[in-house]
Symmetry: C2
Subunit: 139 residues, 2 copies
DNA sequence: TTCTACATTATAATAGTTCTAAACTGTTGA
DNA sequence: TCAACAGTTTAGAACTATTATAATGTAGAA
């Protein structure tokens, strides 16, 4: 629930110029108190719906990638059909409902700490994420 | 380390005709005592290298998908650029080395059982997989 | 051997994503 | 204040992994 001048500051703080396109995208992504998952196309549709002006698809891609790089968004690997992004940047996990093709958060507190008893020398861990695939129970 | 007639049986047992293309693909995928990860393009290159005859890319796609559906291969979601497949169909996890863009198995025994303390009503769990992203340690 | 359903193939089509290069804009500092 | 410039947006082209098409070929059954 931020206003435009707060997005302006947010953008400035990470070295991005606060253009009207970026502020619009911030509104769609971060104005809700709920986080959500989206594909680029879904995001583009939301933007078009909540605005009269159109934002070019290239700008949507550019901005999403800039936000991801700055840590405002995460990308969730689900399958190779298209990229899924997440406005929830806290450490958490996912159910993927293969019947509904739907991605659902699992709070980090609902997963016992994952213990990996092996390492790769010279490499440090960036993230540990659990993906739980689910489907409808047999009737 | 199977011979062609064993692949023939393997294919027959899952209702696929043992064509020479499919047997060739079986050889490349399953003749080694090591399992490995691959993309379709890498697989197509391996096939071309180990054969004089060429197998159409469409056949490689068709066969890989048929094998996946029959449980001979797993697909590993890493990113949305392209599909990664795994000849290791046992339950296991992965390191993804973001520096080298390399996928490395983690034996199931090296991961403490992952406990998820939440469920989705009406859905049953198909798989629980851990992806550990790593990168080079800072020097 | 003949028949048929299944399989292969080259190629076209599709779709998500990235690139291009021209037009536009936010910011800086003279 | 405003010219200058780097950063940004844009439409559309290009790119690339994947899937569809439809003609040709083949394995297995009878
Ligand atoms: Mn897929
Ligand atoms: Mn990506
Ligand atoms: Zn999430
Ligand atoms: Zn593996």
């Amino acid at each position: 629930m931020l206003n435009n001048s707060q997005y302006t500051e947010k953008l400035r703080s990470i070295g991005l110029r606060p253009t009207k396109q970026r502020i619009k995208i911030c509104e769609v992504l971060f104005n809700s108190n709920k986080t959500f998952h989206f594909t680029i196309n879904e995001l583009a549709k939301r933007i078009t719906k909540s605005t009269n002006e159109n934002i070019s698809l290239a700008t949507v891609y550019n901005t999403v990638h800039a936000f991801k790089k700055k840590g405002y968004l995460k990308e969730i690997p689900i399958n190779s059909d298209q990229s899924y992004f997440d406005t929830n940047t806290s450490h958490h996990h996912h159910f993927y409902d293969e019947t509904q093709k739907d991605l659902i958060d699992i709070d980090d507190a609902d997963v016992e700490p994952v213990k990996i008893n092996t390492r790769i020398p010279g490499k440090k861990i960036k993230s540990v994420e659990v993906l739980v695939k689910v489907e409808d129970e047999k009737p």
